[in-house]
Subunit: 605 residues, 2 copies
């Protein structure tokens, strides 16, 4: 019966698992101090293949542990990421060998403040060396060596785990092929330090803390519970708390520090927090909490604008994921990691997932998020890509659909082997995928749409999800051979400034646009005094969104005025497609061209 129950509890999962212990018997030097020896408690799922090319290391968050997936053989507890890790799941254990260890300094079986200091025969307590994320990563490396893992297919981590993943690709650049950094930061901000300090002060202000020398039977539970309650608020969002608890009240049960409205009820959110606080003190140690939060606060790869140089040796392909409602490690903080990697010419993507559950979103079942992990790790299957293709052609019933890629062909021809291409408004990454396959181009796409950015990831195309103006402004001068605007300049507000910036970042800029001066548009407007609607201009007024149409004439006049002011570029090649967008035309392009494609060349090129 009990066996039957266990099976059901983890049906389709990795099943029963037992933690193991790795002992490192030598002296271990840390950033601040050393340990005579240490141990890590860890679990693995799946099997290391013959090439040893399928190992994935998962790094846990502040209060997490090594038990990622399956159910524990002892207490039947499910792993904290069981929905993400298992056979056929986002991190597929039938394909990958997955490892997770309780981090160094923690209290779930690895050496930390609760461990016995061999020098004194007593628990380290507050005498445990001051800890850093780097120490955790170095200790994990010893575990991987012991497991005979000589490269990582990927390292994956959220929150503090994301910081470890980031530290991994800095510390062991050639060891890690890929990294997924989720809801993390390259630097603990003043606000996050402040929250941690309040938690620490609460613990240290608890008289039972006793300068860290508390007895295990007489621990500073009150101080730790308050620290946890406060921290828990920062893991959720205002919206998710409102949805979950609102202002609902409930009868009071036994909770820490009872205080009730007219003696009878308590807000549900209050009871929930007390429950979280109580649960936490059962499984966590106060000194460990102090040491680990200090390690977080110390984490700073930015310092005085040195994030870029800290990332200069990275070789891994990186995906950073932020959540819109995460106010602890904000989307902006996550994005900065990918931006810095891009500035250093690395292969990095940033994706932002619209999820309402705050920082903890990464722990919850979100189809979009889990799918993204899987796409980054293994890409879309051939089946799936061909299915997409079939569907695409079936839908391609209008002429404009058929012609969709006509400008991409031209631009694709202009680009040379091994060049670097920035595609602004890259959509699903068709051009960049083609260029990578055909010309070994290194590409970066920018698009504000999550679905499109995810499609880029499924094609193996690097993408920064967000505003193209922001992306351009953070990139250094001269960092791309090409900047491409494929039929999206019409959507730009004050395009002049953006194109100028593109000419700073790229040696060449390709601009394609629908020529609004096409003779049929003019004739229609003259005759009817209204916009033409056809397969290019699809919507009538009431269903349109504002656009900034332009013609060949206007674009050339803009180029003339800009190059006169700036004296910095010239128009290179130009291609005009006739109204059918297939045949080229040369004469009277402002009247005869349906589509125009320009190459702008910076003079210094």
């Amino acid at each position: 019966m009990s066996n039957e129950k266990e099976k059901i509890e983890n049906e389709g999962g990795v099943g029963l698992v037992s933690p193991q212990i790795f002992k490192y018997p030598h002296k271990f030097s840390m950033v601040h101090g050393y340990l005579d020896h240490f141990q890590l408690c860890y679990e693995t799922y799946g099997t290391l293949n013959k090439n040893k090319s399928n190992a994935i290391l998962i790094c846990h968050a502040l209060t997490g542990d090594h038990h990622v997936a399956g159910v524990h053989s002892k207490d039947k507890r499910k792993g904290w990421w069981d929905h993400a890790v298992g056979p056929g799941k986002a991190i597929d254990t039938s394909e990958f060998f997955v490892i997770c260890s309780n981090c160094l300094g923690a209290c779930q079986g690895s050496t930390g403040p609760t461990s016995i200091n061999p020098g004194t025969g007593e628990a380290y307590g507050m005498s445990f060396p001051e800890l850093t994320i780097k120490d955790m990563v170095r200790a994990q490396k010893h575990l991987l060596d012991f497991l005979a893992v000589n490269s990582l297919y990927s390292v994956v981590g959220g929150s503090m785990g994301g910081m470890q993943a980031l530290q991994w690709i800095i510390e062991y650049p050639s060891f890690v092929e890929r990294a997924i950094i989720i809801a993390a930061t390259a630097q603990h901000s003043a606000q996050t330090i402040a929250f941690n300090e309040v938690g620490r002060t609460s613990i240290m202000g608890d008289p039972k803390w006793n300068n860290g020398g508390y007895d295990q039977k007489f621990r500073p539970e009150m101080g730790l519970a308050v620290a946890r309650m406060m921290a828990h608020i920062t893991y959720l969002s205002d919206e998710s708390m409102s949805e979950r608890f609102g202002r609902n009240q409930r009868d009071v049960q036994n909770v820490v520090g009872e205080l009730t409205d007219e003696g009878k009820t308590k807000f549900e959110v209050e009871s929930y927090l007390h429950h979280q606080g109580l649960k936490f003190v059962d499984r966590f140690d106060a000194n460990t909490y102090i040491k680990l939060t200090k390690a977080l606060d110390r984490f700073d790869l930015v310092g005085k604008d040195k994030l870029d140089s800290n990332l200069k040796n990275v070789q891994s392909k990186v995906m950073v994921i932020g959540f819109t409602s995460d106010w602890l490690y904000t989307p902006e903080q996550n994005k900065k990691i990918a931006e810095s990697l891009q500035r250093m010419g690395k292969n990095a993507s940033y994706l932002e997932i619209n999820h309402k559950d705050g920082h903890d979103s990464f722990l919850l079942k979100s189809h979009r998020f889990l799918r993204l992990l899987n796409l980054f790790l293994v890409g879309a299957s051939q089946e799936e890509l061909s299915r997409q293709k079939v569907r695409k052609y079936r839908q391609a019933i209008t002429r404009s659909e058929m012609k969709k890629e006509s400008d991409l062909k031209v631009i694709g021809n202009w680009v040379n082997k091994n060049e670097k291409v920035l595609d602004l408004g890259c959509g699903r990454g068709i051009l960049l995928q083609h260029l990578r396959q055909a010309k070994d181009v290194i590409g970066l796409g920018v698009d504000y749409d999550t679905d499109k950015a995810s499609a880029c990831i499924s094609r193996g195309v690097s993408v920064l999800q967000g505003d193209i103006r922001d992306a351009l402004s953070m990139l250094p001068d001269n960092s791309f051979d090409w900047v491409v605007f494929s039929r999206m300049v019409e959507e730009l507000d004050q395009p002049c400034q953006i194109i100028k910036d593109a000419l700073r970042v790229g040696k060449r800029v390709a601009v394609s646009f629908v020529n609004h001066g096409y003779w049929k548009n003019r004739m229609h407007f003259l005759k009817y005094g209204s916009r033409i609607t056809n397969d290019v201009y699809r919507q009538d007024w009431q269903n349109s969104h504002p656009l900034n149409h332009l013609s060949v004439k206007e674009f050339e006049s803009f180029c003339r005025s800009l190059s006169k002011d700036e004296n910095s570029f010239r128009i290179g090649r130009k291609i005009f497609h006739r109204g059918d967008w297939k045949t080229n035309c040369c004469f009277l392009p402002n009247s005869r061209a349906g589509l125009a494609i320009y190459e702008l060349v910076r003079d210094s090129t």
Copy 2:
């Protein structure tokens, strides 16, 4: 010397002030329980005029007090809003009689948990009745009665003070002419309750708290300090903390719970918080903190969608102000108060000030904010308005400037006496001010721009700062006689849906737009294949923002298709101005009209 120094300390301010005591000697019934009698500590500045029409009540925030302005005669302490209140300041004490009392239940001289319970001869402590915002307001009313103030020119409050101001206009609708509600909420959300509960748990978990029965010499300072430190984080923004402290470190001095990085330094933000915590326990009482935060958590005018009905008797003119970086009482929460008032047909405005300092922005010197307070209280001076006018005409050098108000004249003529008008994209409120003066119209403007919204306030025009789509969608059916779109439909994304919504909210809709089908535009486009630039279409392509141009023909065709689908409205009057925007034209308007103005009439009208 000392006198000299005092003068300098408050030069241009209200000078030396002394708190006074008001004793209410009767039984005072509260929402939960009663007091045998109570006292309030208060200060006043300025003089009550003969008509008793110039009294302004200021309500303070959670840990604030009655000392708003000037310097204390005893300890030389400056008032917490000294930069806002004084002769010639935003709340001008040479014009107004300003009153502020320490609120009931607080610990700066008013009756609260630290006061002696006459029944027992000991301090109330936790036996002080459970407190509500309503009790505070009712106690303040007794003070005003005592001061012979029989109406309030305005009530003003931020944070908890804003909640009191809101309660005032509900409790005493005919007593309060105006209310300024700043950085407040109509309902404590789950997240704010959660933060307060962590603070309370910290206090009650301090062994010295002793179920509230602590001796004044042996108080739960540690618990209270932690509560304050945490709360202080919620008063600031991540940005302001980063700017102020970043990750700077400093040498450690004596602080609560010392913990240093390698024993020497501490982050500045940590020291700052400890300092705040220590300073706070000197001046505040732990039980009071518990009682007051519970009063905040209880505050709920929304309940099950009953905010509108709670506000049904309001007669005051209300301005609600939110700050962009306030994540404790968010801009959205503030806006909801004004929206609800508008739904109930009240005179209410919402303005959002872009300020980086989080919730505490309202306590800081911000010119834009202080100016807004003054504008709402006294309007712009005649001088100033006429100066504005002169400047306007001087600048009006282009024809388009001269013609700026031509459509407003037409729409102004259509509107009847005493009608209600919603002006979407209202700019500086010119139309609504004119209609109020000429036709006693009740108007509401909507504009996303802070400066324009402030200009509306200076004209006495109610305004909701924000998105017009949001404003429309929250307003009830049939709540305005007119909805006006004055030359802004070109900026709308998918205008169909918005105009449909306008026809739900308004009985009549007025739409004016520049006719893109005007013959000169057509001829130019035919001849040159580029957009025309003139005094109407000012920018060439590279400097434009996207627009959704339309012509008379397109608008009429849209109306035909919409009225066929919806069968709910007809085109009423229409006026076409010729190219000069002055002379009317009737024939061939799609070719000949420069400006078109339509009246759409709902069929049920």
